[in-house]
Each structure stands twice: as structure tokens, then as C-alpha cells.
């Protein structure tokens, strides 16, 4: 991605709420939160090279932990959020140490089981989580530094800041030693170990960072939806994230965001019925894998190359 893309993206996203309706601001916020979650999946798919069907568990843990801290202990959002994120990273480290030794289908199955366990705990631990009825009436984040987040637009800007800061930080990360070592491990574990890369430590670090980003999406979900219920955190949510990454472009960071915009904004806009969503996601995944394995970003790059070639040939 060229250097102009990120500032341009920020300007457009920042300007949008000024020109669109309140419902569209809601959709934009939803898109941004999905983009944050897809970004976390993009790290797993593209840089750890694993498919994580349990990624939504990290979102769920952060969402419930931060909200429960607020509702039960009266903590402010700004104190509850970092605690919840620390919890998620800690859990990711423990889970990663166990599961990242596994390869291919075994990792996928164990992470799927992990996510189901988390969901079942949330659904059945009535006294704490209120079970399937969920937590209701979650307030927007408390004002901080004189900024109120009571309005939908203000909350949208908060989510946007989280997305942009995450994206900027991850863009730096993948170019740093950590990013390169992750890619090396993904490419050839035996060679990576041989040149002196501590494989498990790299993978666990990668999963922790990914869980942190997923957690960022999680802490925003409660105040955004004002309700949290276990039904929001099923396998399908992880699949949605995967489809977003694949549609946008695996192995990039812009890809997940493009995919999230595509798959959140467009179906909602066309008012697709919600229960068709899993089917739609499956169809999209098949079509993209067959016809555009590099995703939308790959199509754009191919288009750019074609244009450049035609311009050159025309001379």
C-alpha cells in the first residue's frame, strides 16, 4: 500500500458522519468494529499462517470482562478496558502455548473447542453473565478529557481512532523483526528454527497481539450494542472474520479492513435478512477462493498492473 492510502482512508472515514444519516453512522461504527476484529484475524491467517475458528472467543472474553467490571464493580470504561485486554492477552498466551504446537486441522479443532467452551461458560454461568439473556443496558464510555461519547457520532470516532491506531501499529509491527520472524516461521519452520528463531515464542507472541486486537473490538461491542449475549459469539462470527480477510486479501493488513467494509456495509445496506448471512458468507468465500484468491486487494493490484502495462505498451 502506498503512503497516501492511510491518511486518505482516515480523512474519508472521519468526514463521513458529517454527511450521512444517523442510521448510516451506526452502520459505519459496526463496520469499523468488524474491521478491528477482521484485522486480528488477518494477523492469524496472514502472519501466523493458521486458521483460527476460535478467534471470536477473544472478542467475547474482552467484551464480557470489560462490561462485567463496569456493571459489577462500577469501574469506568477506561479502567475496565485495559484490565479486560490484559486478561485476553493472558488467556491467549496460555491457550497459544498449548494449541500452537498443533498443526493444521488439529489447531483448528482445538481452537474451535476453546471458543465453544468460552461461549458455553458465558451461556451457563447465570449468576455472573445472566446466561442466554445477556447483559443489558450497557452505557457508553464515561466522558474522558472533557469528551463525551454519549452520541453515536462520538462513539464512531472512538472506534475509528482504535482502528486507525491498531492499523498503524500493526503496519509497523509487520515490518519490524517480530513481523519478519512470524513470516519466516510461516514459510519454513525447520529453516526458521535453524537460523535461530524461537518458533513457539514467535507464534505465541503473534497470537497474543492478535488477541489484543480482537479484544479491542470486544471492549467496543458492549457500549455499541448496549447488550451482550452468548448468541453473538458463535462459530459463525469467527467464520465471518475469516471471510472478511479472504475477501479483502490474505497476508495484508488493508485487506481485512476492505473485506469488513464490503461484508458489513453492503449486506446491511441492501437489508439482507440476518439469517441468510451464514449462507451468504459461505457463497462469498467459495466465489472469492475460486476466482480471486488474492482478494479484492489482489484484484486492485492486478488492475493497476494491467493499466501500467497498457500505458507502457501504448507508448
Amino acid at each position: 500500500m502506498n503512503k497516501l492510502a492511510l491518511p486518505l482512508f482516515m480523512i474519508v472515514m472521519a468526514a463521513l458522519p458529517q454527511v450521512v444519516s444517523e442510521y448510516q453512522v451506526y452502520l459505519l461504527t459496526l463496520t469499523v468494529i468488524w474491521a478491528i476484529m477482521a484485522l486480528s484475524m488477518g494477523l492469524v491467517l496472514g502472519y501466523i499462517g493458521q486458521i483460527n475458528l476460535g478467534q471470536i472467543a477473544f472478542v467475547a472474553i474482552a467484551a464480557y470482562a470489560s462490561t462485567l467490571l463496569r456493571l459489577n464493580f462500577g469501574l469506568s470504561f477506561w479502567l475496565a478496558a485495559p484490565i479486560a485486554l490484559a486478561v485476553v492477552v493472558g488467556i491467549a498466551a496460555i491457550v497459544g502455548l498449548i494449541t500452537l504446537r498443533l498443526r493444521g486441522p488439529f489447531f483448528i479443532l482445538v481452537m474451535l473447542a476453546f471458543a465453544e467452551i468460552v461461549r458455553l461458560i458465558i451461556a451457563n454461568w447465570q449468576e455472573v453473565t445472566n446466561g442466554p439473556l445477556g447483559l443489558r443496558g450497557i452505557a457508553p464510555p464515561e466522558p474522558i478529557f472533557g469528551v463525551s461519547f454519549a452520541s453515536k457520532t462520538a462513539f464512531y470516532y472512538l472506534a475509528l481512532v482504535v482502528l486507525v491506531v491498531s492499523l498503524a501499529a500493526l503496519l509497523r509491527l509487520v515490518r519490524s523483526k517480530t513481523g519478519r520472524m512470524l513470516v519466516a516461521v510461516r514459510e519454513d519452520e525447520i529453516l526458521a528454527e535453524f537460523v535461530g528463531i524461537p518458533i513457539m515464542r514467535q507464534k505465541v507472541t503473534g497470537l497474543c497481539i492478535s488477541a489484543f486486537v480482537a479484544g479491542l473490538g470486544g471492549i467496543l461491542l458492549g457500549p455499541f450494542l448496549t447488550i451482550l449475549a452468548p448468541s453473538q459469539f458463535t462459530l459463525f462470527a469467527s467464520v465471518d472474520m475469516i471471510v472478511m480477510v479472504v475477501v479483502g486479501g490474505v497476508g495484508t493488513l488493508a485487506g481485512p479492513i476492505i473485506g469488513a467494509a464490503f461484508l458489513t456495509y453492503i449486506p446491511e445496506l441492501l437489508s439482507f435478512a440476518n439469517h441468510f448471512r451464514p449462507i451468504l458468507m459461505g457463497v462469498v468465500l467459495i466465489v472469492v477462493t475460486l476466482f480471486a484468491p488474492q482478494g479484492i486487494l489482489g484484484l486492485l493490484r492486478g488492475f493497476k498492473r494491467t493499466l501500467a502495462r497498457e500505458a507502457r505498451d501504448g507508448q
Binding site: 519490524s176 523483526k177 520472524m181 513470516v183 519466516a184 519454513d188 525447520i190
Partner: protein, 258 residues
């Protein structure tokens, strides 16, 4: 200790279940020489390599580097002690460019702090700059400067093979193990690679290599060790080996077999 050889391979053995891939192999490598390890297919050459570099645990015997036992250590530990290797069929990071491949190998052990590098602090940037310089040197040495920005996996096999040697050199070894460095190369490329092996030795690195290409082996080795069916059958200068009846028998089969 003065009498300790640079690398001592001392009665090593490797059994896979009932199969004795390496029965009993003993030889030494002297500092600064190019030693060729040859033998017919299935003789146990690559297994011997895997035992020295720690990729496989030994069934018996031990390997010492300057008198210090290295067998039983992890492969990355052995590499950090100064024994680097290439892999048969070549291992590289295919999706990365040639430059990025070498950067990765150099970066792996570089003392770059996680946070310092994430946020691009000057200390981390200085290390990256130093690594950039080293990469240029290695690229020059292996003759891939012109291919630096190519995706490694898209290059012809001979170039990938050179990059494999470059990755091993990036670990700054004192002993370099090359597993069939000339496989898949045409005579021109073989000559170039053989010249490179000699330059590696001239730069102060001891070289031990496994190879099928007898012409190349005879041309550049100081000494040759011949293994057959998991045991050493001969050792000596190239001319002696070429005249050794046991070696000829191992390669061509004895009259009784015919």
C-alpha cells in the same frame, strides 16, 4: 587440547528401527580444509549430516567441535556454536525476496528489542542498517546482487541453491555443511558454485560437503571420506580415492555382482 581436531565425528551411529542408516562412521575435519563426503545412494551421507547438525538424535557415538561435545544439542544451538548447514533440495523462505531472506537470517539472532523495533527507536534502526550492509556483502559473495529484489521462490533452482548457501553464511559459521550444493546445476553453474565453495574456504570457513558430482568433488576437495551402507570404506586425497578398489567396487559393483 592442541591435538583435538576441528570437528571429530566419533563412531556415530543412527538406527531407524531395524534399519542401520549409519552403522559406525568416524572421521575428522581439519580447520580450513574442504572435505568431501561421498558414497552411493543410500550410503548414509545425508543422515551423517543430519547427525552432525543436530537434526536427528544419535543412536551411538558423539560429535565434537574443537573438543566440545555438540551432539545432543538442539540444531539452532549447534548453528550458534558455528556449524551452519544447507539442506538437500534447498530450504529458503519462498515468499520473501532474496534480500529479505538474508535479512531474516541475520535478524534472527540480532539483539533487537521487541518494543524498540516496533516503535522504530534509533537503536533498533542502527541494527537494521548494519544488517542491510551485511546483506549486501553476502549478496556479493554468493553472486545474487542482481537478483536481490526477486521473490526467492520464483528463481531458478540453481539460484535458490546459492541463496541456501547464503542463508547458512549469514549465520557466520566456522564450519559449513553443504548438502549436495551442485544438485540441479548445469556444468557452468557447477563451476561457479565450486569456485564459491573455494572462496568460502579462503575466507576462513571450513567446509564439509556431500555431493554426487564426482568431477566437482575431485576438483575442489582437499580430502574425501567415502561411506557405503552406513560405514566408512575409505578416506584420503582425491587421487588416492579415485584409485581405491573398494571405492570403485562400491560405486560400480563388484565382478561377482555382475
Amino acid at each position: 587440547m592442541a591435538s583435538e581436531p576441528f570437528l571429530a565425528v566419533d563412531h556415530i551411529a543412527k538406527h531407524f528401527g531395524g534399519v542401520k542408516a549409519v552403522k559406525d562412521v568416524t572421521f575428522t575435519v581439519n580447520r580450513g580444509e574442504i572435505l568431501g563426503l561421498i558414497g552411493p545412494n543410500g550410503a548414509g551421507k545425508t543422515t551423517t549430516f543430519n547427525l552432525i547438525s543436530g537434526l536427528l538424535p544419535l543412536t551411538g557415538g558423539e560429535v565434537r567441535l574443537e573438543g566440545r561435545r555438540i551432539s545432543g544439542e538442539r540444531p539452532d544451538r549447534i548453528a550458534s556454536l558455528g556449524v551452519a548447514r544447507t539442506f538437500q533440495g534447498t530450504r529458503i523462505f519462498p515468499a520473501l525476496t532474496v534480500r529479505e531472506n538474508l535479512e531474516t537470517a541475520l535478524l534472527a539472532r540480532a539483539p533487537v528489542g521487541f518494543w524498540a523495533d516496533w516503535f522504530g527507536l534509533p537503536a533498533a534502526r542502527a541494527i537494521h542498517a548494519a544488517i542491510g550492509g551485511e546483506v549486501t556483502n553476502v549478496l556479493d559473495f554468493i553472486g545474487l546482487s542482481a537478483q536481490a529484489e526477486r521473490i526467492a521462490g520464483d528463481m531458478p533452482y540453481a539460484h535458490q541453491s546459492l541463496l541456501g548457501v547464503g542463508l547458512a553464511l549469514a549465520l557466520k559459521p566456522r564450519l559449513l555443511l553443504l548438502d549436495e550444493p551442485f544438485a540441479g546445476m548445469n556444468p557452468n553453474e557447477t563451476a561457479g558454485a565450486a569456485a564459491m565453495v573455494q572462496r568460502i574456504r579462503d575466507s576462513g570457513v571450513t567446509v564439509l560437503f556431500v555431493e554426487h558430482d564426482m568431477a566437482a568433488v575431485m576438483g575442489i576437495c582437499d580430502r574425501i571420506v567415502v561411506v557405503d551402507q552406513g560405514s566408512k570404506i575409505a578416506e584420503g586425497a582425491p587421487a588416492e580415492i579415485a584409485a581405491n578398489p573398494r571405492v570403485i567396487e562400491a560405486y560400480l559393483g563388484s565382478d561377482e555382482d555382475a
